[in-house]
Symmetry: C3
Subunit: 205 residues, 3 copies
């Protein structure tokens, strides 16, 4: 129950960040709603399609769509009067990433899949929505560029979650530990501008 409420919060945060991204591109109302929805539920949708889990989570629970609409509308109203709270949004986005990554990993785990696939599915759940948002905005996904550890935070956190369980920790504390690691790495990366090395290949000519 708490987990469900937390996941709705994650959906709301991702939807708000999607609405702001759409606003920066000058999209219209439909564009804002589409980008909000894709950012919020795109990762979980890809996970469900790849794992053949039907009905897909938001088809089974349309409340998700209501939360997205409400979050997008609130964002629209809020920025009429004040500047977007960028710092609060970064914090909320990191928590959303932590929550979605670990909950996505648990879903793959419950299907008895091996560790590599659990890490991949958790990472997709947490970060593919943002990739779809960038593709729809005709931009190179932030995730692929030289950004402050995003997918990396998810990968490390999920790995810690899996190892903690193998080390004997129960699922719930292991999940909390994993989420903490994801959020901590992301926060640290933003604070100290930690990035992965860039890889440059010269053009063919």
């Amino acid at each position: 129950m708490t987990l469900y409420l937390l996941s709705l919060l994650g959906v709301a945060v991702f939807a708000a960040s999607g609405a702001l991204a759409a606003g920066r591109k000058g999209f219209d109302l439909i564009g804002v709603v589409v980008i909000s929805a894709v950012t919020a539920i795109g990762g979980g949708t890809i996970r469900d399609v790849l794992l053949d889990r039907h009905p897909i989570f938001w088809i089974a629970d349309p409340l998700q769509l209501v939360v997205i609409l409400a979050a997008a509308a609130l964002t629209l109203v809020y920025v009429r009067f004040r500047k977007p709270p960028w710092t609060a949004l970064l914090v909320a986005d990191a928590l959303g990433l932590a929550l979605f990554s670990i909950s996505g990993a648990r879903i793959a785990e419950q299907q008895g899949l091996p560790g590599t696939i659990v890490v991949v599915m958790g990472t997709i759940t947490g970060s593919a929505g943002g990739v779809l948002r960038d593709i729809l905005s005709a931009e190179v996904p932030l995730l692929l560029r030289h950004t402050e550890l995003y997918a990396t935070a998810a990968i490390v956190g999920i790995t810690v979650y899996l190892l903690a369980q193998r080390g004997g920790l129960a699922t719930t504390p292991a999940a909390l530990l994993g989420m903490g690691v994801v959020a901590a790495i992301r926060f640290a990366a933003i604070l100290w501008r930690l990035r992965l090395p860039v890889f440059q290949v010269p053009d063919e000519g």
Copy 2:
């Protein structure tokens, strides 16, 4: 039967509009065929994948692909001799949107899904093909930008279709009414340049 013929007509129209879009980007023959196919059957494919309907409609009925090839070929030949009939295409595209939106909604309805999901699935069926076309052309999807009510027309028309049924109307007249509303809104929007408000968020700095 009539509905099936109408849907093939919708596929042909969307394929022709895809071929013209590919031509404006200077794609080669394969590019034209791929864009035609993606525009024509992309929306229905995403709907079928999300709803776990297999075999996907065009795998179950390869005639769809034949119609796409024929429509793309005819378009190629036609524009060698004459200017593309832009106005006729806009009209045909609006009819295709109307047809696909309502038929997609009916498919979701037959699976016993709630109203919100029916509206979403109908809108995806009608408009996601054009979004895929734009993504493949590396352009910001027309749907998200400041365009004349497109997804909006689908959303309103499907809602009218659902409400008309709850109000006691039989499925067929309700479907015709819904299609009429979709097409009418789209026509009106093109004629009088009706658009949704744009939502602008200043950049972070």
Copy 3:
């Protein structure tokens, strides 16, 4: 068994070409791994989702992901010391295209699907990974532009494979013949710059 080893080789080659493409865009390590993976297994993933084949091949066999990581890492190390072997890569890519197209076609064939769908599924298996790679790089897919016969090579090779079987040839020699045709057309196209005609439509105005 040999076919399985060959398919892992195809995955490795496509992953290496993806890593180089990511390097030319200046992506970071995660970007390189994501683009490698998408290039290598994107086509087969789309095929499996469209055909409702679960578990998807790389979920059933995570060794595929290990091969991708190894190939991307080797590529990263190699280009630190030497120029990328562009010609060898073009040859390897053509072999990968040949292998994936025919193996994708065989999978569709085993599901009893008609010839058109077999050709489409084989072509998607061989070439959709590269399309996803280009979309993630925010570029117009090479496949759609004026490139040296790529999808065309797959389409002709798969058709030859199907016709050879109907003409009485056993599956294995027919498959080898089909792969040979794909690779030969692609090699010839690169050598003599064979391209499909471009289709130009003037803009609306």
